[in-house]
């Protein structure tokens, strides 16, 4: 089936540093998402993105977070500066749109450890 690729799969970073998580969504998809999962628990919605803009975001999407997809390349999540509580697995997802019921296709996740 369609594949969403995430780079890196793992990253360890010092608190206060910047990190960028990259996502290569399914090629014809229009909507992009980031979710945060801690210790295999609940998938927490962070943000969704369409047509170059943030559509919706949650309270977890702090001011230190930003997303972009310059020129149709990677869909990125940037955290600057990082905090200890940002340690989690971040999942990128993409979907074709509302007509498909927003069926989400997920990547394998990027495990971020902030020390």
């Amino acid at each position: 089936g369609p594949k969403v690729l995430q780079i890196p799969s793992h990253q360890i970073i010092d608190m206060g540093q910047m990190v960028t998580l990259n996502c290569d969504p399914v090629s014809n998809h229009l909507y992009f998402y980031w979710y945060k999962q801690i210790l295999g628990q609940q998938m927490e919605f962070l943000v969704n993105f369409y047509n170059g803009k943030v559509m919706e975001k949650s309270k977890l999407f702090k001011d230190q977070f930003s997303v972009e997809r310059p020129d149709g390349s990677y869909f990125t999540l940037k955290i600057q500066p990082t905090a200890l509580e940002d340690s989690a697995v971040y999942f990128c997802a993409s979907s074709l749109g509302r007509k498909s019921g927003n069926t989400l296709y997920f990547g394998e996740g990027s495990r971020l450890i902030v020390v």
């Binding site: 998402y33 628990q41 998938m43 919605f45 997802a93 019921g101 927003n102 069926t103």
Partner: protein, 113 residues
């Protein structure tokens, strides 16, 4: 505000047993309901969804789910589980006027040999 709850954190059954994983939602408008599966160390994979029509929807690998408006539920079922069905199952809801997909807390299914 749309919410979705999964009352069972863990379910353990034997291979060949039937299983039902429970999902209840709270939302007043038109919604999409879905189930996803997450194997350990991987991302979520779509199983099935419901929006309208026949309240019983079929998914991959023998899974099905039944929508009940009166019970505000969308329970997932499988008649005969296999050890490879061991995973975490997430119920998800999206209202028709948003693109935000909200997930439940997940149910860890363990299938014993």
């Amino acid at each position: 505000t749309q919410t979705v709850s999964q009352s069972d954190a863990h379910v353990t059954v034997f291979e060949g047993d039937s299983v039902e994983l429970r999902c209840n939602y709270s939302y007043g408008g038109s919604i999409y309901l879905s189930w996803y599966i997450q194997h350990h160390g991987h991302g979520l994979q779509f199983l099935l969804k419901y929006y309208s029509g026949n309240p019983v929807v079929q998914g991959v690998n023998g899974f099905e789910a039944e929508f009940s408006k009166s019970d505000s539920s969308f329970h997932l079922r499988k008649a005969s589980v296999h050890w490879s069905d061991s995973a975490v199952y997430f119920c998800a809801v999206r209202s028709s006027n948003t693109n935000k997909v909200v997930f439940g807390t997940g149910t860890r299914l363990q299938v014993l040999p």
